[in-house]
Amino acid sequence: MNPELVATVIKLVVIVGFLINVVPVMLWVERRGSAYIQDRPGPNRLGPLGLFQGLADAAKFMFKEDVTPAAADKPLFIMAPILALLPAFTTFAVIPFGPDLQVGGRTVPLLIANADTGVLLFLAVASLSVYALVMAGYASNNKFSLMGAIRASAQLISYELALTLSVLAAIIPASSFHLADVIQYQRDHVWSVLPQFVGFVVFVIAAFAETNRLPFDLPEAESELVAGFHTEYSAMRFATFFMAEYISMTCLSALGVTLYLGGWSLPWVEYHGWWGAILGFATLIAKISVCLAFFVWVRWTFPRFRYDQLMRLGWKVLLPLAIANLIGVSAATVAGWL
């Protein structure tokens, strides 16, 4: 048995287990958090503090009737939710979740895809998530779904530019696409959020738009276009879209944390052996949790952007800001300040 293969399988099990468990936890956090912000109790009947609400929701999704519209394009209709889930899971492969482990004389880097082109792989796979939306909207044979799908994909590709440019600016001082090198740079110097604050703000706004979360959730807003591109989806198919959204939120938070907030590392802490790895993973999970709580907080605080305001913000404000940030960071790196 190839030892590298065994190590990769174990890492896969850990990461996929983590990602799948995010969804019921986020369900509870979203419901209770929104209730707290809106000054109402929220779900509190199932178990203490309503903690078993996730189980009840899962059971509901499994037993609901799955309705497929008669004139829908069946192969695309069935494939769209799966295609939404694949990029969401795959993008976590390049995120390091701990320091290098020494196991039996060999060094095991704690990330699934130890590729030289780390961040680019993330961006490439994330850009494939547009297809799921477009397929869902087209295959539903429903004017509202199609409108929602086109708006959502236009929003996604517009904000992808600002996202890519802010990610590029974050890796320029580290001179490598590999995220382990970026974390090492941040451990040697300072967390990138401090010198590159503009880039961080651009990244956060673009991340909200990329995951279709408020204030950018016009494509799936209930009061606007029925439910946008997932109007015709019910039961498990809708649950799949739901899962895909939460998991892509987690992956983008993980990327933001790794690029700007130091990833799995804490300043002035030494990481040795197995305890170091566990501590690193726990730190990463804690930072991602803070980001996800921030997602929930923003969702229930702001009103949503109208579509033309959204496009204007993406092209006329964020893109020039991201380009200026890139030029500034490159100049600072060449001058030796970063």
């Binding site: 695309l76 590729a115 030289d116 082109t117 680019l120 792989l121 961006l123 490439a124 796979v125 850009s127 494939l128 547009v130 297809y131 477009v134 397929m135 087209y138 199609l146 086109i150 994909s153 236009a154 590709i157 992808e160 696409f177």
Partner: protein
């Protein structure tokens, strides 16, 4: 192992490219093109060019084909009806084309033999080697391509916008 991956993705590329060319529904053609591009990206990685593989997915599958999909939906391109009775001599032309293609293949194998590439070294696959070449020997084409992309953005914006004379005539009629 490498042979297995090659066989899988090569057959996937061939199959989906036939769907691109032959399917009546343009949406299915476009989505099959995505599958083809993805398979070709995997083949790039097998050939020791992982950066190009990732770029293929990022640029081609992630941006260009999305643009195609947009235009297909915007223009509501209908399913194409293939002519039932082909042009006269279409079958003969297709057969002749296949024979010529087979002749080319035989020539390719006869002249080239079956050379194995050198083993892939860490240095060949690394990003640094490609970047070094790109930014030293090929710096001028790099800058020109940047200029080309700028020109393309301006050209596409101008070509696709609504013609402005319509608003002028409307305002002229409304004025007096």
């Amino acid at each position: 192992m490498e042979t297995l991956i090659f066989a899988l993705f090569a057959s996937l590329a061939l199959g989906s490219s036939i769907v691109v060319v032959a399917h009546k529904n343009p949406i299915y053609s476009t989505l099959s093109l995505v599958v083809t591009l993805f398979s070709v990206a995997v083949l790039f990685v097998l050939l020791g060019a992982p950066f190009l593989g990732v770029l293929q997915i990022l640029i081609y599958a992630g941006a260009i084909v999305v643009l195609f999909l947009f235009v297909v939906m915007l223009l509501n391109v209908q399913r194409e009806e293939m002519p039932h009775s082909g042009q006269p001599g279409q079958r003969v032309a297709a057969l002749l084309g296949a024979v010529v293609f087979a002749a080319f293949l035989v020539l390719l194998f006869w002249r080239a033999g079956s050379p194995q590439g050198q083993p892939l070294t860490e240095e060949f696959v690394s990003l640094k080697a490609l970047a070094r070449q790109l930014f030293s020997t090929y710096l001028l084409p790099f800058e020109i391509v940047g200029l080309l992309l700028l020109v393309a953005v301006i050209g596409a914006t101008v070509a696709a916008r609504k013609p402005p004379e319509v608003e002028e005539t409307a305002s002229k009629e409304a004025a007096p």
